[in-house]
Amino acid sequence: MTARWGLVLLPPFIFSFFLVAASQSVFLELSFFEDLGLGRKGEDFVLDNYTRFLTDSFYLHALWTTIKTSALAALFTLVLGFPVAYLIARMRSQWAMVLIAGIVVATFVTIVIKVYGLIVIFSANGILNRSLMEIGILSEPFTIFGNVSGVVIGLMHFTLGFGVLLLYSVIQTIPRSLEDAAAIHGANRWRVYRRVIFPLALPGVTVGALMIFNMCMGAFTSAALLGGGRVFTLPVLVQRVVMMELKFSMGATLAAILLVSVIAINLLSIFMLRRMKAAHLVVV
């Protein structure tokens, strides 16, 4: 019986394995050939592209921008998302489903459409900037096109819905009775948050933060559109180098570096999750 199920597994496994192996090996191999431009590559198997990456301040700066924007976006996603996740997880009424539906719609609608909305909201003579300048909070319009804050806001729209759903599942593992117990013993709300919920959620939140950070590291669309050709993250550079400059091997090298950093962070979060499971800190 179980052997038969092994046979059922075989065809999709072979197909998936071929796709993973073939697609990844081709570009990884390409990354080791010198880039001669216009899609041409050198003859020898060399590390040229990698040394170019490590010595060219433009590429290193892109790596730094990627890390910086991803870290900021992950942080803000947690700050905005955690209270919402908590609210939904602890809600007893039918409204919880409506609130969840709002989050799910936001994760399902493609980021390109959301970027269009963002551009209207933050346009120089748009509703937000005009009202903020009228009240006197801003002296000049806050725009998000072609600067780092724009990229961070775009990344947050990419991750926030997913982040809320993730944190929601973390908070659901914390029994409500623990909060009640703390409250009965005289802790006020703030103290309950600080001494009960926060410590219990911390492991799950840490792993979630790493996952969100990783999503941002690999995010292309929002970074490319809101970066407006002035802010370069690694995913934006990969597309640009390949499609516009036709440097196939250099693009492959950038992609390889991105892939390796993302997988390293993933392994770290899997490792942390294992240790937490072993310590019974999370019930996933």
Partner: protein, 287 residues
């Protein structure tokens, strides 16, 4: 004022502040979509730059009647593509999940890693990887797959299948094998037991996974941007290039239609399997 009522007031204030904060998060999250829908309703002669006026002026469906051919073709392509991808992802993903949960092959952890691998790879990397793979295959055989429906399907099935594997696995792990055994004892054939007992139970997982697969394909830019060709673009890529080049206000109209489509799909899922199934089985989350 005594201590008890002071405590009560502070508690109420705290609660109000907390809810207000959550409301702000929601406004942040949902405003872009609301603004897109609002802007799409602008009349032909809105005062300033017609496409950017929000709240809309001279409300009308003016731009809905003027969605250009290119966008409609792109929408049609995206629809067809996402539908094919969802079906193929289920055809691959359901047996994979069944095999992963029920067989006792050695190295199952490794096999499951292969199935999950596409989720670990940033989409832009998947895009360039498939482009280079297609170049290589083309150089060898003379048939180039980039810019064809087949190539796009291949790239999207690659990223969509893990979602189905994830959701169906999640449902199967809670499946009580005794149900199927009971059917067998009562004389059902293996296939009949599977079709009449197991399949209905895992169907919610299949729907959820299929929906994720559809959405992953329907919203993707980073893979499709490498695998489409001029005159053969998916809707998100069309929007992406339109923003980089020239901007057409009718985009807001077609984008609003896509937002409504997402809402309708979500309602269908809620009716069909319930949103909580979608969340409980959330196979790796949205990307």
């Amino acid at each position: 004022m005594d201590r008890a009522s002071r405590y009560k007031i502070r508690r109420t204030l705290g609660r109000v502040a907390f809810r207000a904060y959550c409301a702000l998060s929601y406004i942040f999250l949902l405003s872009p979509m609301v603004v897109v829908i609002g802007t799409s309703l602008n009349g032909p002669k809105a005062s300033t730059d017609a496409s950017f006026q929000f709240p809309p002026e001279n409300i009308s469906l003016h731009w809905y009647a003027r969605i250009p051919e290119a966008q409609i073709e792109a929408l049609a392509l995206s629809f067809a593509l996402a539908g094919i991808v969802a079906v193929l992802a289920c055809i691959l993903g359901v047996p994979a999940a069944l095999g992963l949960v029920r067989s006792n092959l050695p190295g199952k952890a490794l096999i499951s890693t292969v199935f999950r691998a596409p989720l670990q790879i940033p989409s832009i990397v998947t895009g360039i990887a498939f482009l280079q793979l297609f170049y290589l295959i083309g150089d060898l055989t003379g048939v180039y797959w980039q810019g064809t429906l087949f190539g796009l399907v291949l790239g999207h099935v690659f990223v969509a299948t893990p979602y189905v594997v994830g959701t169906v696995t999640a449902v199967l792990q809670r499946f009580d094998m005794r149900l199927e055994e009971a059917a067998l004892i009562h004389g059902a054939s293996r296939w009949r037991a599977f079709r009449r007992v197991t399949l209905p139970v895992i169907m919610p997982g299949v729907y959820a996974g299929g929906l994720y697969a559809f959405m992953v394909s329907f919203g993707d830019v980073p893979i499709a941007i490498f695998l489409t060709a001029p005159g053969f673009v998916t809707y998100p890529v069309e929007l992406f290039t339109a923003l980089e080049n020239d901007f057409d206000p009718s985009i807001m109209a077609s984008a609003s239609m896509v937002i409504f489509l997402c809402l309708i799909l979500l309602l269908a899922v809620q009716k069909l399997v319930g949103l909580d199934t979608l969340l409980r089985t959330g196979g790796g989350g949205g990307r």
